[in-house]
Symmetry: C2
Subunit: 550 residues, 2 copies
Amino acid sequence: MRTTLRAVRAVSARRVGSLATAKPALRTAPFLASAAAGFRVEAATALLQSCGRRNYSAAVTKVVRPTAEMYPEIVRDARFGELTAADVEYFKSILPESAILQDDQDLSGYNIDSMRKYNGQSRLVLKPRTTEEVSKIMKHCGERKLAVVPQGGNTGLVGGSVPVFDEIVISLANMNKIRSFDEVSGIIVVDAGCILEATDSFLAEHGYIFPLDLGAKGSCHIGGNVATNAGGLRLLRYGSLHGSVLGVEAVMADGTVVNGLGKLRKDNTGYDIKQLFIGSEGTLGVITGVSVLCPKRSKVVNVAFFGLDSYEKVQQAFVKAKSELGEVLSAFEFMDRESQIQVARFSELRRPLDEQHNFYVLVETSGSNREHDDEKLQNYLEGLMESEIIDDGVVAQDETQLKNIWTWREGIPESLARTGGVYKYDVSIPLEDLYLMVEDCRARLIEKGYEIGTEASNIVSVVGYGHLGDGNLHLNVAVKSYDKAIEKVLEPWVYEWIQKRQGSISAEHGLGFAKRPFLKYSKDQSMINLMKQVKEIYDPNGIMNPYKYI
Amino acid sequence: MRTTLRAVRAVSARRVGSLATAKPALRTAPFLASAAAGFRVEAATALLQSCGRRNYSAAVTKVVRPTAEMYPEIVRDARFGELTAADVEYFKSILPESAILQDDQDLSGYNIDSMRKYNGQSRLVLKPRTTEEVSKIMKHCGERKLAVVPQGGNTGLVGGSVPVFDEIVISLANMNKIRSFDEVSGIIVVDAGCILEATDSFLAEHGYIFPLDLGAKGSCHIGGNVATNAGGLRLLRYGSLHGSVLGVEAVMADGTVVNGLGKLRKDNTGYDIKQLFIGSEGTLGVITGVSVLCPKRSKVVNVAFFGLDSYEKVQQAFVKAKSELGEVLSAFEFMDRESQIQVARFSELRRPLDEQHNFYVLVETSGSNREHDDEKLQNYLEGLMESEIIDDGVVAQDETQLKNIWTWREGIPESLARTGGVYKYDVSIPLEDLYLMVEDCRARLIEKGYEIGTEASNIVSVVGYGHLGDGNLHLNVAVKSYDKAIEKVLEPWVYEWIQKRQGSISAEHGLGFAKRPFLKYSKDQSMINLMKQVKEIYDPNGIMNPYKYI
């Protein structure tokens, strides 16, 4: 027994050793920093999504057609009031001048979404500083039946955070204070407008971590994250926001402030109403404050990146990771061959692995003991190599390499955005069928007469990648230009395919404007009816983020 | 540095070694098994709570006065229909004879709660086998406005699972099949009537664990656990059911079956309605099926038990546990001196530690690597001893010792139940003030002229213990016999005390019948209004588990 184990280690150590030579090829500059200068296609819209509003506005040139024009079947709700000078006067009486935006130039950043796909026609942005101000605004809007769109960092991917017609935008950007933090329990209470990255940096100073991480962290708001029920990269380890958000403070459509800002890990006193706000995308009320249970920040983080030749082996590697990495496993991301070709094509980064494989996996561990974590990862990788589940791999040797591997992974959507357009499907599918969705999608396009990836073809690539540990696939069909005919081949076919396997048509992006028509593919009518009943009682005039969600 | 570390280890190893001599004193027989014969007080009601209905019924002799008689201020809702022979005939047409109980003897186990505090007057128990049968029952009850009480294992602690007047009991006991289990994702789908322990045993065979554990596991149902949002012993590690329950199937008051039995870790398609059922205590619908994300079962479990001289040191030990045990920490239970005196007095078990301390802590780790986990725990305990945070301690050396230490901890409520009566407060309080509640409670009783623990005094003991890792205190005031005057000294004082510190009047037991009047101490009116609106739309005639909750 012992002899065998030693033998395994000896062999593997050598193999891992030989793999380690690939590591210096990883560039030390982070992807985002190098990308602005180095990407081969000039438009860098999607990239800038995570670089804050200032950079974002400066880079924007492309005209986005008004949503109302693009979707003539959507009609302005006649029940809603029209904004008058008297309304603006009222808002001036409760807010400072600087918190009221009416200029076209100021408004565009709030009307256009981060993907530059949707363009609303709002004439007014309000930027309250306190919950009380939000309450006054909503009381007035409720009485006047003025429709509103609550807006955080405006980084959403389904057009949920921008107006469609003349809805008033309520930006939470001026509500960005950390209200309290308890060093013993790890419970933080923040204004909704706190930026995710800034909050996480604050927590890092105290040895804690925010239980959510995503690409847009530099500009997204925690209130927006909660409203979207954002998933991201740490969900595998820290669970969903339904578990970690302890309390929500919100202002309802009539201005009522609902104080649900509990700071208790356990509280079984009545229906857990705050859960409805998590993932409600601004359709029930304006989230103004959030309390979150934050875990201790891990002292040690390791990242490995390896190649495999089949999806079956990816699943095997995942099962072994759950068993052997156990409590230190913090991410298990998979990517297909096609995704790597696109990142290599559109970025300056060198591939983490020189040779090509059919699939790639990024495994991350986070733990409290360097020696233990290293040993667990080493044993895991050795086991995978011994049983020939993986073909090749690298382990990050320092913080820079670790970041670069993550940047490579995060480079997939950013690279694809450079092809011209991307049909994005963010879906949940039972693990065994997860990659079949990508293969079936390719087959369908070919069957319908489309070529993929040829010089003449409009379809550049059909790519699959995602958070395998969460059963979350990102199916991306990258095209040179959007084409209604391709869209018709894909939709509702994709949704029907998912429905058959009881998957979700939106794993983490939400419904917003884009996915609203397809809700029925994931939820049956009895459930949709319960949702509609909630919407009707909490927002009887439908003024909260209309034309979206449900 | 290295020398110092070695020195620490040498010293601690000796001390841990000397402590280890205390271990043989731990009896090998589990507490529950030995208790039936060995407890010094004969009535073993509370104990039998976790031994299944058969034992329970056989042991019952004490007469429980009807709830309606005890609480004359509660009046039967005149809107409800009265059960007729025609109703019973209808139920006979859809259910087999054996699924319809009408005999007094059969009914009593469903009318009386597990604490033998409440006694309903139901004349009919129905035990459907399928969701469709539940739907037919509810459709009929909805049309006839017949009130119902959904009932799982009837192990609740707030009188929530038994009728008050003539409500029909719908027992889920005959719905006890595991519908599916996915070995890759760890997602299990069960009928609501599956018993927690049986389900966990099934999962153990597949290397997984149910993310919930509690004393009543031998008879409680998973549907009931979800309806109560049960907390228990694993919450610190695996989080609340709001995070781990992925889907709920429920039958509404009008018989509509709501299929929300998702098996996806991520699904952002609309309001997360299932969250409302988690902790709804049967007031919104009958939960008939549940899908749950189960973690991998840890290969290694360690338990340590130690004594400390102040509550400040308990908190320090907790902060260090979070930091040093990190990802393997799975329980952190604290107990005060008084609690240990009571267990020692009423049980045959020997104390885990011979000497008395002011506080005691049970720490559990669960991980995937024996060597790593042992080392982490060893380092942690050495650090606590070196910095003089703990005075004395033992580490379980085998499965039996581990179980015995847990049994000792679980013996607290069981021992207290033998004094005659217990005023139980299951509360959440910010950590720093948690134990102050117990001290203030003692002071108040003394101030009001009561003696505690003397021969003549009715008050036997005021005890504090609980899930410190979750901020959850169990304050128990044990008395020889219930006394309205003592109750008046305690209530609403306890609730007011909690309200001042923004705590919860019910951390994990729920509201049921017992805590309904006190909801306002934990939730403000705006939140209660939102709850009431939900209740009104989903159950407009109020037939679902009336007179309770909200």
